[in-house]
């Protein structure tokens, strides 16, 4: 999935993030990262990843993956309409509206 992360799933490997990966991830996330910040960020991210890598030292053979520490299962709601009809609130923060629509710069494929 994470193309560009040089990810090796064997233990004790180090993931590394280079400058171009930083630029790409920033673009995908719509975060502006100036060119001169990218090198520094890649070093920081590699530091964090290296720290996470330490977890690989724990032996997790025969341990079930855990999704929650609370022991709760996914709560479900009944199929009942209990919301909606609040256009004013939904549009309250919107810079531009027209007849109940959000109005945004033209996005057309």
């Amino acid at each position: 999935m994470l193309r560009g992360f040089h990810c090796n799933r064997t233990k004790h490997s180090i993931m590394s993030v280079d400058k171009s990966t930083v630029a790409r991830v920033a673009r995908l996330a719509r975060i502006h990262v100036p060119e001169d910040r990218q090198e520094k960020l890649s070093a920081e991210l590699n530091g964090i990843l290296a720290w996470i890598e330490e977890l690989n030292e724990v032996d997790t053979d025969n341990v079930e993956p855990i999704a929650s520490v609370t022991g709760h299962s996914l709560p479900r709601r009944k199929d009942v309409v209990s919301d909606g009809d609040r256009v004013d609130e939904v549009l309250a923060n919107v810079p531009e509206t027209a007849s109940g629509f959000f109005v945004v710069p033209k996005v057309v494929e």
């Binding site: 999704a67 709760h72 299962s73 996914l74 199929d79 919301d83 256009v87 027209a98 109005v103 057309v108």
Partner: protein, 484 residues
């Protein structure tokens, strides 16, 4: 039947796989309490969860889960008792969260199968790869303003089932048959209304071509087709386009394409190279969905009879043709109508009256079975009158026309209009005598060897009886008189 396509350099095999997005039939959305109703005012069906306000948390709608399980069971698929919701990240104006909640590696439903009965009588099995639950996006309107797009989030967060087939289809006709069958199953199950015009059922079509039996070619994906005709047009266009490129020595780009409904052609999306880098990861707002086996068993036990089961009864026990059976079972309402009308009657005869006369009259008048004045019992009654010889098939057509107009009972119409078939041999003989007396010359010709004139005499007698004489008896008595 060969599905191969002839190119300039030889034959090509078409390979098609479909991703169908079916809107789950539910009152509220997948993760919020906002309504799913079609046609509301802009942004009226939006909760703060759907609008992705900070701090809002998704809570899953239990009915959507159950509908997905029912659909999985209807597709004879494996139900995954543990499944996981992931975030599929991308930016678009009609996706306020910045990600779609979907299921990636662990969908709620795994492999299944769907049977196609083709018009030529053959059967094809199409593999289902998976079914997963996901949120629909909002709707963008680009034609309201020269430089702006208008966004309506009413559809945002409505539950969809994405049903992914194996690349098992080999022609546009098979792809259409697949969608028709899938739609039929969903409607029988009540898990999706199947309304393609309102967008409740849409398909993405993956198409590639290859030399017969060779390795798969590179495929293209044409998005968001909302009618059977568009699906077939898009496939035909893609097949021709791809064959031409390859035969000219070119290569197919793996890409997403858009279908232009006005020209029937496809064109490449102005693709951003990152468009498919969705960076899926498990949604931290949602725990894994765990389904108790008992819940699956309970839903399975309550499943309605499905088209394949009914079809097997119609072609087996009732002896209908595969074609008649397919026409009758496509809609659940039609199948129930048929079962009610044909109970205790000649099953084939009722099928024939339904598919020819009733459907013909409905088509002609633009009505549906729901508005039809002819009740199942009334149609059965008409067939009953044919079966016991009260009226001939020919008279029955006139009676049916009156039934269709007025909603009256067949027996009442026959009584009122005096259409009862004449099966009294004395009365028929008298008419025959008259016809013979009035046509000496033709009688002589017939007896002189011109056998073909027999039909003329039958016609004259039927005319004399205003169509009410029993045709079998007319034949028999006439022959005795003329030959005797």
């Amino acid at each position: 039947m060969s599905n191969l396509v002839e190119g300039r350099t030889g034959e090509w095999e078409v390979v098609i796989g479909l991703e169908v997005h079916a809107q789950v039939a539910s009152n509220a959305k997948l993760f919020s309490g906002a309504p799913t109703a079609f046609g509301a005012d802009p942004n009226a069906n939006v909760s703060l969860v759907d609008a992705a306000m900070p701090g809002m948390l998704p809570v899953i709608n239990q009915e959507c889960v159950r509908q997905a399980i029912r659909t999985g069971l209807g597709l004879k698929a494996e139900i995954n008792l543990v499944s996981v919701f992931d975030r599929k990240n991308y930016f678009y104006a009609d996706l306020p969260q910045g990600y779609q909640i979907s299921q990636y590696k662990q969908p709620i439903v795994g492999e299944g199968v769907l049977r196609l009965d083709m018009p030529d009588g053959t059967t094809r099995e199409i593999g289902i790869e998976r079914l997963h639950l996901e949120q629909d996006a909002g709707k963008s309107m680009h034609d309201q303003h020269p430089s702006k797009s208008y966004i309506d989030l009413n559809r945002t967060g409505v539950a969809l089932m994405e049903i992914v087939s194996r690349p098992d289809m080999r022609s546009a006709a098979e792809a259409a048959a697949y969608v028709r069958k899938l739609r039929s199953i969903l409607r029988y199950l009540g898990t999706c209304d199947g309304n393609m015009e309102e967008g409740s059922l849409r398909a993405d079509v993956n198409v590639s071509v290859r030399r017969p039996g060779g390795e798969f070619g590179t495929r293209t994906e044409t998005k968001n087709l909302n009618s059977l005709r568009f699906i077939q047009q898009a496939i035909d266009y893609e097949v021709a386009r791809q064959i031409e490129i390859i035969e000219d020595g070119g290569e197919i780009d793996q890409e997403t394409r858009l279908f232009d409904t006005s020209t029937g052609t496809t064109r490449a999306m102005r693709s951003k190279e990152d468009a498919h880098d969705y960076r899926y990861f498990p949604d931290p707002d949602l725990l894994p969905l765990v389904i108790p086996q008992e819940e699956v068993d309970e839903l399975s036990a309550a499943l309605p009879e499905l088209p394949d089961q009914i079809r097997d009864r119609l072609t087996g026990e009732y002896g209908l043709s595969a074609y008649d059976a397919a026409v009758i079972i496509e809609e659940r309402e039609t199948a129930s109508y048929y079962e009610a009308a044909s109970a205790g009657r000649d099953r084939k005869l009722v099928a024939n009256w339904m598919t020819v006369e009733l459907f013909g009259a409905l088509n002609k008048s633009g009505q549906t079975l729901a508005d039809c004045k002819v009740t199942p019992a009334a149609l059965g009654g008409l067939v009953g009158l044919i079966e016991d010889g009260t009226i001939s098939g020919k008279i029955a057509k006139d009676v049916f026309a009156t039934m269709f107009e007025t909603g009256k009972d067949a027996a009442a119409i026959v009584e009122e209009q005096g259409l009862k078939q004449v099966s009294d041999s004395g009365a028929i003989e008298a008419m025959i005598d008259e016809v013979i007396a009035a046509n000496d010359d033709k009688v002589a010709e017939y007896r002189g060897g011109k056998d073909k004139l027999f039909g003329f005499f039958v016609g004259q007698v039927m005319k004399a009886s205003k169509g009410q004489a029993n045709p079998g008896m007319v034949n028999q008595l006439l022959r005795a008189k003329l030959d005797g």
